[in-house]
């Protein structure tokens, strides 16, 4: 199976130092890859660099044969990379409907026509049963789980090639957490490849194909999700090994 997204030798960061120090990763088409690792290992920096919010300092990002390095964040969206940030992932002062309208109008670069005059097609809406009743509500007034669902729906309105999720289950109640992972699976079943960062490793790895473990801006391990799930020291992989961290500092 061909890789839809490949990252090679990626360096990026804030200020003088690099946070990512040569990341290599590949996402096969139609698969789910989950990135785990301790706080400060560079997971969020990686996803922000992929989304185009941080510049690539070295290395290359390729989506379906097209080099993304020089593309702005909006251009990457139009090329097929949809990103759901961890927090502040909906426009709080706009209504649910307006959030969806913006996604449809701008994420496609104005190319996506309304389907049967609807801002979001029924098949997609079926994944988010709570949204239709809330179209007129301000997105800022939704619960955390509903906001996450809205952010998902926005990211999917333009049928992306890759959906990037930054800790989709962070701060959610157990009910919504299960819903979120079920939705991720359903989205994946529609053929969307998924690149996900998650603290909730056990749940995330159950639905993933591949697991990438990061530490100190590098890939520590890349293996089949099932294999990582079976490891005795899974916790130390994503919580980080204190002694190792201390030695590196």
């Amino acid at each position: 199976m061909s890789d839809i997204l490949t990252v090679s030798g990626l360096h990026a960061g804030y200020g003088a130092g690099d946070i990512l120090k040569g990341i290599d990763a590949a996402l096969p088409e139609g698969k789910i890859i989950t990135v785990i690792g301790p706080n400060g290992s560079g997971k969020s920096t990686l996803i922000k660099t992929l989304a185009g919010l941080l510049p690539v300092r070295q290395g290359e990002i390729v989506l379906a044969g097209a080099r993304l390095n020089e593309m702005s964040a909006p251009k990457r969206v139009m090329a097929g990379m949809s990103y759901v940030p961890q927090e502040y992932n909906v426009f709080r002062n706009l209504t649910v409907l307006e959030n969806l309208q913006i996604a449809r109008e701008f994420m496609s670069g104005g190319r996506a026509p309304k389907k049967n005059g609807k801002v979001i097609d029924d098949e997609l809406l079926a994944l988010f049963p709570e949204l239709p009743g809330k179209f007129r509500a301000l997105a800022g007034n939704l619960s955390g789980g509903q906001r996450q669902m809205l952010a998902f729906a926005c990211a999917l309105t333009v049928e992306p090639k890759v959906l990037m999720l930054d800790e989709p289950s962070a701060g959610l109640s157990p009910k919504y957490m299960a819903d979120i992972f079920a939705t991720v699976q359903q989205v994946n079943a529609r053929g969307v490849s998924i690149f996900m960062i998650e603290q909730n490793a056990t749940e995330a790895l159950r639905i993933s194909d591949t697991c990438l473990v990061m530490a100190n801006g590098r890939v520590r391990l890349c293996a089949a999700a099932g294999e990582v799930l079976g490891m005795q020291d899974l916790h130390s992989l994503y919580l980080g090994d204190a002694r190792e961290q201390a030695a590196l500092v």
Partner: protein, 286 residues
């Protein structure tokens, strides 16, 4: 009392357009633009040139000048603010103060300090419920109301308006929702330019054209925008009306010369008791 309240209403409604311009610019660009007063002055003199010197009807002159001034502000942004965009809001604010001096003095250089007025026929004022209203005041109310309705439609019903609100709500998210911010910034300047040009003409009709005409409204305009909540278009409208009416009514109890203190008091009270304004969202530091 009723007459004073009506006069205050007219003053307030004149302030709505520049207050809306400030709030749009602040929402998208995140800095208070102190050049709005001088911008209104310059636009009013542009209309004066077309209306009085070239003999165009005032409506045509205003429409042409509004579009031209919108384009002019895109150029001003390109030359003045764009190179400073990464330096933060204080730098941009200081730059806007400097730009204000330059623009106001361009008007002064061209037309001197003498007060001038547009070529409009004089009409007899009429009375309604014991309130004396003149034709200019009716035009001011009509034009401002139309402009506010147009802005409402733009901001809520049109993609570009929604995108402006989205950028002002969360710039980073706007990028990953496919919104190209440079395009939105150009649109914001263009629309602000149109609002300021119309606002300048209305001030010129209400009083007279002179170089400090725009900057004399600056404090009231900022008080209106802050009272309503910077970044909230509805707030700018309500804030402007409150400031106008309260300032004018204050002349019943304090000497008219001290009227200018009312907007300053409002700014101080709002900043102490409700910094986000009436309709603004509390600022969340990310």
């Amino acid at each position: 009392m009723l007459q004073t309240a009506f006069n205050g209403f007219v003053t307030g409604i004149i302030v709505t357009l520049p207050a809306l311009a400030i709030t749009l610019l602040f929402g998208v660009l995140k800095f208070p633009n102190f050049a709005v007063g001088a911008m209104m002055t310059l636009a009013a003199y542009l209309v004066f040139a077309l209306n009085v010197q070239l003999g165009w009807p005032l409506v045509v002159a205003t429409a042409v000048a509004a579009v031209a001034f919108g384009g002019f502000l895109i150029m001003v942004d390109y030359l003045t603010f764009k190179p400073l965009r990464e330096r933060g809001s204080i730098t941009l604010m200081v730059a806007s103060l400097g730009l204000g001096f330059v623009l106001e003095n361009i008007a002064r250089l061209g037309y001197g300090n003498t007060a001038r007025s547009f070529a409009i026929e004089l009409a007899r004022p009429f009375r309604f419920l014991d309130i004396r209203m003149n034709r200019e005041q009716m035009i001011i109310i009509g034009v401002s109301t139309l402009a506010m309705v147009a802005m409402y439609v733009l901001l809520t019903r049109m993609p570009i308006g929604r995108a402006m609100r989205a950028v002002s709500d969360n710039p980073a998210l706007a990028l990953v929702r496919g919104i190209e911010s440079p395009r939105i910034i150009r649109w914001t300047w263009f629309i602000a330019g149109m609002l300021l040009a119309i606002g300048g003409v209305l001030i010129g009709m209400d009083r007279a054209l002179e170089p400090p005409m725009g900057s004399s409204y600056l404090i009231a305009v900022f008080a209106a925008a802050i009272l309503g909540g910077l970044g909230s278009p509805l707030g700018a409208f309500v804030g402007a009306l409150i400031i106008g009416i309260v300032s004018e009514l204050s002349t019943l109890v304090i000497p008219p010369n001290y009227r200018i203190g009312i907007p300053l008091c409002v700014i101080a009270l709002i900043l102490v008791f409700r910094p986000q304004g009436l309709f603004g969202q509390p600022y969340i530091r990310k």
